[in-house]
């Protein structure tokens, strides 16, 4: 039985996004995948905590898909983390609601691969920038999966973008099969 995946998608200007559109189109129709477009559901940024928690409870794996803004996520993702991952529910002594579930981040980033790392002008690798997310997953007892990262160089032509979208689809399918590390 394939595991269910909740894709938490956040893009405040989705209408202008090429990369995230291609990625979203590649996975939103997959069976067992719930594509949850946060800026579409909460245009007033007013997150319905109870609803979000019940969505999380009914899925086996969580995917956070968003562009990489200021070495992090768009504001609504932060709001979502702040409000939904409550103490006593997601973490803390009594908070085991998410334990054992998978967490995978999907990031689109404008900078090239070379700019990340000790030599580049961003000074750190994307893996290092992802530490807060990794720690969050860890605190909730979730399994941190290798992030799926699409960089500017992968979006240069429609062909390369289609290639990235196909890889993303395969990645999500792999995540749905228990035991295999995506």
């Amino acid at each position: 039985m394939a595991r269910s995946v909740l894709i938490l998608f956040a893009h405040p200007a989705f209408q202008r996004s090429r990369a995230n559109r291609a990625l979203a189109e590649a996975v939103r129709d997959l069976p067992g995948v719930t594509f949850h477009d946060l800026y579409e559901v909460y245009p007033d940024l007013l997150i319905d905590v109870a609803r979000e928690q019940s969505l999380l409870s009914s899925h086996d794996a969580l995917v956070l898909q968003h562009p990489f803004y200021w070495y992090s996520a768009p504001a609504l993702i932060k709001e979502w983390l702040d409000l939904v991952l409550e103490h006593g529910w997601a973490y803390g002594e009594a908070g085991r609601a998410l334990a054992g579930k998978d967490w995978m981040s999907t990031i689109t980033s404008g900078g090239g691969e070379d700019s990340y790392g000790p030599g580049g002008f961003n000074r750190y690798t994307i893996t290092e920038f992802m530490r807060p997310f990794e720690a969050t997953a860890h605190l909730c007892g979730m399994r941190w999966r290798t992030p799926f990262i699409v960089q500017a160089s992968h979006m240069s032509t429609p062909a390369r973008l289609a290639e990235a979208a196909a890889a993303y689809r395969a990645h999500i399918l792999a995540l749905q099969r228990r035991g295999e590390d995506a």
Binding site: D48, V49, V84, H87
Partner: protein, 625 residues
Amino acid sequence: MEHPSFLLQAFVFLVAAVISVPIAKRLGLGAVLGYLIAGVVIGPFGLGLFGDPDSLMHTAEFGVVIMLFLIGLELAPALLWRMRTAIFGLGALQVLLTGALIAAITIAFGVDWRPALAIGFTFALSSTAIVLQSLREKGLDATNPGRDAFATLLFQDIAVIPMLALFPLLALAAPRGEAEGTALSALPGWAQPIVLLAAVAAIVVAGRILLRPLFRFIARTNMTEMFTALALALVVGVALLMQSVGLSPALGAFIAGVVLADSEYRHELESDIEPFRALLLGLFFISVGASVDLALIGANPGLVLALVAGLIVVKTLVLYFVARVMGRPRADAALVALALAQGGEFAFVLFAFARAQGVLSEALAAPLVAAVALSMALTPFLLIVGERLASRMARPAQRAAPAHIHTHKPRVIIAGFGRFGQVIHRLLAANGVTTSILDHSADHVDMVRSFGTEANYGDAARIDLLRVAGAGDAQLLVIAIDDAERALQLAENARKHFPHLKIIARAFDRRHVYELLNRGVDGFERETFEGALRLGSAALRHLGARAHQAERAAGLFRRHDERQLLMMREHWSGDDNFEAYRSAVNARRDMLAEALRRDLDTHGVTTPDDAWDTDSLDAETQKRA
């Protein structure tokens, strides 16, 4: 033959039309042919149910006048200017070539050159009424060939004026008595063109300066029938003025229409006059059918049929040639040529005039009139042939959607332009969305137009008005009118007649929301809810809440209230069962009050922001330390 009473005649016409037109339509022959057949059947040469088709045609010609007025309304001066090469190229070439060729053929048959010229140029004219009505029926009126056909017909209508002026010069015999004397013919020659120009200028100036305030004044009375009366008076008045100076009334009505084409009352005028046009044109077609002299054709079938065939063949060939010379694709040229191959209603007038002026003899005129009538009756068939031929000739790319005349297609229709609709319009306009506005208040429409926005006067619940406002092509209808009952009516009509249209509506209260939803609207907003909610949020702030807290409280209240509104919909079954709904709402309200009280007991606030409240985390950390 005794003249039957007016009501009896009207009854005969209406019944004949009601029987024959639907049958013709069902058989795919079109309404025009239906009317023509009805005319042949009930006419003096058929069942003989009425006597004098000529006098009937005179009345019915007013249908042609109204049609030209409506066509003028559709054509703003700028659009007309863009058609100038078609009018004066296609139209002029066609009339001159056809006239000369037919005259030459007629001379070859031994007729004197003077009547031959009269016959040639009369035959060059086609039937505005039949062609435009048939094209419209087939949805071809806004296509390129449809526009070419219109341009040619327009030139022909203008060409009638010099023909009427020149025919007396072609006389063989002395004129028989006073021929259609007009006020104009009493004037000296040099004054005539001045009077003609003055009449046209009068229409243009009056249309620009006088008519708009007059329409506004009438519109403010909110009496639809007065508006219709004024519109009809306008058309009749223009027709009379034109007739008195010897111009074609149809041409005058067309000019009046063009003058009013960019006024805010255009849509209302169109939908008010439309029914008169349709019925009077029907009457006109019936009278054409009735004037087909079956006895004459029976006595001389060879001559009449040869005339019809010759007329149609020559006109088709010349038109096709001219259209090709003007660079039209083959398919378009074929369609225009076959559409305009018949003789026109002006032929009846011109032949009668020529006879009176002594240009044509009675013996010559009678078969010519019969041929013209017969060729007009054949038009729908020719058009069917033309369409087949055109679609076979067209390259696949050209076969795609026809190019439409409408220059801008509004994406959104806003019905109601009071305080509510204005905000919606401004938001949409600021985001580059084209809108078409309908409002029943002349003051609102005036005010909007003074800011350069397109707005039209009329009752938006009327289907015909919605259609002319562009509901057929628009994506969305926003109902923003301040009359709850009319809003429901509008929602129902729009849903039924424009199923593709998305509809969102201003709702007044809960029951109005349910009634709107029952009529299939896609979205709604209660008109006072948002304002009240924001003022409530302000109240919380003035009581000491922080801005973000108050804002969240209002937002959560909105979400909760909207859910509850939709949840309670199942308990709503119309005003009759209002009590059942009220008790269901009350029961639920008790439950909610209980829930709210529980929230207040635990947190002192109703906003679930537990995650920002670190008390439990602090407690756990201290315990661990």
